[in-house]
């Protein structure tokens, strides 16, 4: 059974040969970059280099899927946000982020540009997916990343402005959520046309660590559902942090797969969402994967599997400085689980 068969069988609730292991978020590391000679920042901007680096997740780490892009700025940039290139210590490149000032104020009406898919680095992202499809199409599934409505809306307005509005002027945020949802949905469709097999939606701003759970239920759920209804392939919904207070509603969005961090309770997710949803997760990226040794990584993975994860995955975006050994350790664990 190859990786694509393995993953798609699980997603379709059939038995794979063993537990799949792959990332819903970026898994690119400096070591992988060295090994395949594809680096940042070019990997964020150039389709060929992006694809070359993404493939490393399969060829070097052994992951059962590859994922692009490596950051969360594609929609925001195309909608008019300022982007700050990633900057690390010792001149090492990191991940670009959304910069100030935001393009809109709360009383504005945001515009969805007709040429959205031609803007920013989106054409290169789609090119990367086409390259991945050509290289890996029948063997390894391609995960295309989009950003969730609340998070894109936060980029349009600035996060604090959006947070305050959720309490003081909630009526005004819908028009931003509408444009934000449209951006992710249109990008998702283009990613699918280019060859993506799975869409992974990251929605960091929707975490209870940022917005009230009631806000998720009363605002985000509606737009997330609408977005997922329009996406024809399996969807992963990833929200960072402890999502216990909203996991019930995450389960109602239409996502086939929920990707959660170890901070959140996998058992609670199963209880709240029922047997139909697939749970993905496994090991904390900032502490365990980044700072601990391979044995600890394996132990944490086993704990998560005992709690009920069905796809073993880094809990969130992999720190680019993570040791390859630690990521390989995850595969070892996944390979040992043939019934789960």
């Amino acid at each position: 059974m190859n990786a694509k068969e393995r993953v798609m069988r699980l997603v379709n609730h059939q038995k794979p040969d063993r537990m799949p292991c792959f990332a819903a978020n970026t898994a690119a590391t400096y070591d992988q970059m060295e090994q395949v000679q594809a680096f940042w920042p070019e990997g964020h901007e150039n389709g060929e280099i992006m694809a070359k680096l993404a493939i490393a997740a399969h060829t070097i780490l052994g992951f059962d899927a590859v994922r692009v892009p490596f950051c969360q700025t594609f929609e925001a940039y195309a909608l008019g946000c300022k982007i700050k290139p990633g900057r690390g210590v010792d001149g090492v490149e990191g991940v670009p982020g959304i910069d100030h000032p935001p393009p809109y104020k709360l009383d504005d009406t945001p515009v969805f540009p007709d040429d959205f898919l031609s803007r920013g680095r989106i054409p290169e992202l789609l090119k990367a997916v086409r390259i991945l499809k050509k290289e890996l199409g029948d063997e390894v599934p391609i995960v295309g990343g989009i950003v969730g409505p609340f998070t894109v809306a936060a980029a349009l307005l600035d996060t604090v402005t959006l947070l305050k509005a959720t309490y003081k002027e909630p009526g005004k945020i819908r028009r931003f959520l509408k444009v934000a949802e449209k951006a992710g949905t249109i990008l998702a469709k283009a990613l699918i046309d280019a060859g993506a097999d799975i869409i992974s939606c990251e929605d960091m701003t929707a975490s209870p660590e940022l917005i009230a759970p009631a806000t998720y239920r009363d605002f985000e759920l509606e737009y997330q559902r609408k977005q997922f209804e329009a996406i024809s392939v399996p969807k992963i919904l990833h929200i960072c942090g402890n999502v216990d207070l909203i996991v019930e509603w995450m389960g109602q969005t239409g996502a086939e797969i929920l990707s959660i961090e170890p901070k959140a309770s996998v058992r609670l997710a199963r209880q709240k969402c029922g047997p139909g949803v697939i749970l993905m997760g496994g090991v904390d990226t900032a502490t365990t994967l980044f700072l601990k040794d391979a044995e600890t990584v394996k132990r944490k993975c086993e704990e998560s599997i005992a709690d009920g994860v069905q796809i073993l995955a880094p809990g969130c975006a992999v720190a680019p400085g993570t040791a390859t050994e630690n990521l390989l350790a995850m595969l070892e664990v996944a390979k040992a689980h043939q019934t789960f």
Binding site: K84, T159, A212, A319, P320, G321
Partner: protein, 211 residues
């Protein structure tokens, strides 16, 4: 009309009510120190509730804004009375190089200032050397660095290394925080304190300075 009503107005982030009540209370000769004290308790309570997710970040931010407005009105009265009260410590506070996430740092700033610390906010995406320069300029006690991404955590380490290179390590306490960081990371890089959340920052930093 009372101090309690003022605290309630801050808690329910009714800034215009809070402003009006503040001015009235001051006009009636209310002790500005007592007002700050009560407001500090309110803010600390809200911070505690947030750390348990009994209330959520938007409320903390909005109440923080109401509080800041109120404190700006009260502060001149405290200056006038000639007894500003002791500063509990001087802190340079910022977000590590390459990192654009400011919200957490801003809540820490709010809690520290509310609790009597003097804070120089150096913003986000701050070069490691800038933290040190600002600490020197301010004659700070503490350098506080936040990192919200694993890619920017090394900036916290770099600050400590630079302090050592310059022979300044003993002059400042280095405090770190931010979602991906933790006690282990603090131990690895030799930070003096790891703050799990904003609400514990004033107490822990005060304890640190007493050591």
């Amino acid at each position: 009309m009372s101090l309690e009503e003022l605290c309630q107005a801050v808690e329910s982030y009714d800034t215009s009510m809070a402003e009006a009540l503040t001015r009235k209370l001051l006009d009636e000769g209310f002790n500005p120190h007592e007002m700050i004290s009560a407001l500090t308790e309110t803010m600390n309570k809200l911070g505690d509730m947030f750390s348990r997710l009994e209330i959520f970040l938007p409320q903390l931010v909005l109440s923080g804004e109401a509080l800041t407005t109120v404190v700006d009105i009260i502060r001149p009265k405290i200056m006038e009375s000639g007894e500003p009260g002791p500063s509990r410590g001087k802190v340079v506070l910022g977000v590590a190089k390459g990192d654009l996430h400011e919200i957490g740092k801003n809540i820490v700033k709010l809690m520290l200032e509310t609790n009597g610390f003097e804070v120089k906010d150096v913003g986000y995406d701050v070069d490691s050397i800038t933290f040190i320069k600002e600490a020197e300029a301010m004659e700070a006690d503490i350098i506080g660095v936040s990192s919200l991404m694993t890619t920017t955590m090394p900036g916290q380490k770099e600050i400590i290394e630079l302090l050592k290179d310059k022979g300044l390590r003993d002059r400042y306490k280095v405090v770190i925080g931010g979602a991906p960081t933790g006690q282990e990371w603090a131990d690895i890089i030799g930070a003096d304190l790891y703050c799990k959340d904003a609400t514990s920052a004033p107490r822990l930093m005060a304890e640190l300075l007493q050591q």
